[in-house]
Symmetry: C2
Subunit: 215 residues, 2 copies
């Protein structure tokens, strides 16, 4: 599949590399076409990996993945272009964390909203699915790398068909337990979990952990 | 031990009954001394169970437990009295959930604060430990009632000695896995987890679940 990845940080690099490994064609998008980190990905992963602007990645991909920083996500997606994203599924991994005042980060959205919802409202013709934002980059694409592979991924989104596609992709990464928490307002819970995640990261001194819902 | 329980709802009733069962003397405190639900507890659990005002429960207890509704917690504790709570450990179970606009609830505190911290700031002579707020009442006191007993309780507080006492009490309930996430600012993560909890509750149509951190 042709996939557009927005963002050149550790999440974007990890996702894009794994997608190429799985046989997909991936265009990594950045603010500027001469972004060095995006060009680095393309060079390492040619010919299946390419790079360009956010708009290039958006028009290239049949499926889109937002790996940009939460604080700049809406602006990046506006640069990607509403028309380029229309009718496509967008997996939103970004977290609205504000580190500007140091640790612990606060959230950029109030508890009556979420970044996932803001993105869905801003791009109503795109099917936004919030997922993968609750684990570190390596675990997103290799959930089996934890000693116990028995842990959960969450997702939220308005469109059942879009969530079905995202579920298939997650399964191709190795996810066996995926909990659909309903429509995109579920992104609130997924994003508000992050302060606990950050705290556990500090407690364990490693990001290699996740949660399993037990019943 | 003599324990003061603030609140007469399902959490207060469940905690107080379990504490009496474990051999403790429990005074359930309410706004008014003639509160019917508190009196009901006392009648059912006499002579170890008694009831009174918030102030009565606070002066009675060597250990205190806040089971009041998050929206009224600070007011209830002020009624309990700073002097009555001074030098004592207070387990804060309350969640700052605002259901006034229906589901899903929003949080009454911004992401730069928490109810646990507000209580600690308001009562600096009391050792506040945030815990138990992340599970339903029955699981708080009977964690083994889940099919898988392998799940986690979190706690946060400034005083190591106070957390040691709380840990002992949690263990007496049956908790085997207790994660100390550090000082009272960790209450933010524990409280901001609730929107995800509420969402999972809606997904599973049962409150009988918890999370296990896997590594």
């Amino acid at each position: 599949m042709k996939i557009g990845v927005f963002g050149t940080g550790i999440v974007g690099q990890t996702l894009a590399a794994r997608l190429v490994q799985l046989g997909h064609e991936v265009c990594m998008g950045a603010r500027n076409s001469d972004n060095e980190k995006a060009a680095g990905f393309a060079k390492t992963h040619a010919p299946k990996g390419t790079s360009g602007t956010f708009g290039d990645a958006a028009s290239f991909g049949e499926l889109l993945i937002n790996c940009t920083n939460g604080a700049g996500a809406l602006e990046a997606l506006k640069a990607a272009g509403d028309a380029n994203m229309a009718g496509k599924v967008l997996i939103d991994i970004s977290n609205p964390l504000d580190f500007s005042k140091g640790m612990p980060p606060s959230l950029l959205t109030p508890s009556t909203d979420s970044l996932g919802e803001q993105i869905q409202r801003t791009f109503p013709k795109t099917q936004v699915v919030k997922s993968l934002n609750t684990v570190t980059a390596k675990l997103m694409v290799e959930p089996a790398s934890l000693a116990s592979a028995n842990h959960d991924m969450f997702m939220a989104g308005n469109d059942a068909g879009a969530k079905g596609k995202v579920k298939e992709l997650l399964q191709s990464f190795g996810w066996r337990h995926i909990i659909d928490v309903g429509d995109i307002t579920g992104a609130r819970g997924l994003e508000m979990y992050l302060p606990l995640w950050v705290r556990l990261y500090g407690t364990f001194q490693t990001a290699m952990f996740n949660v399993k819902v037990t019943r």
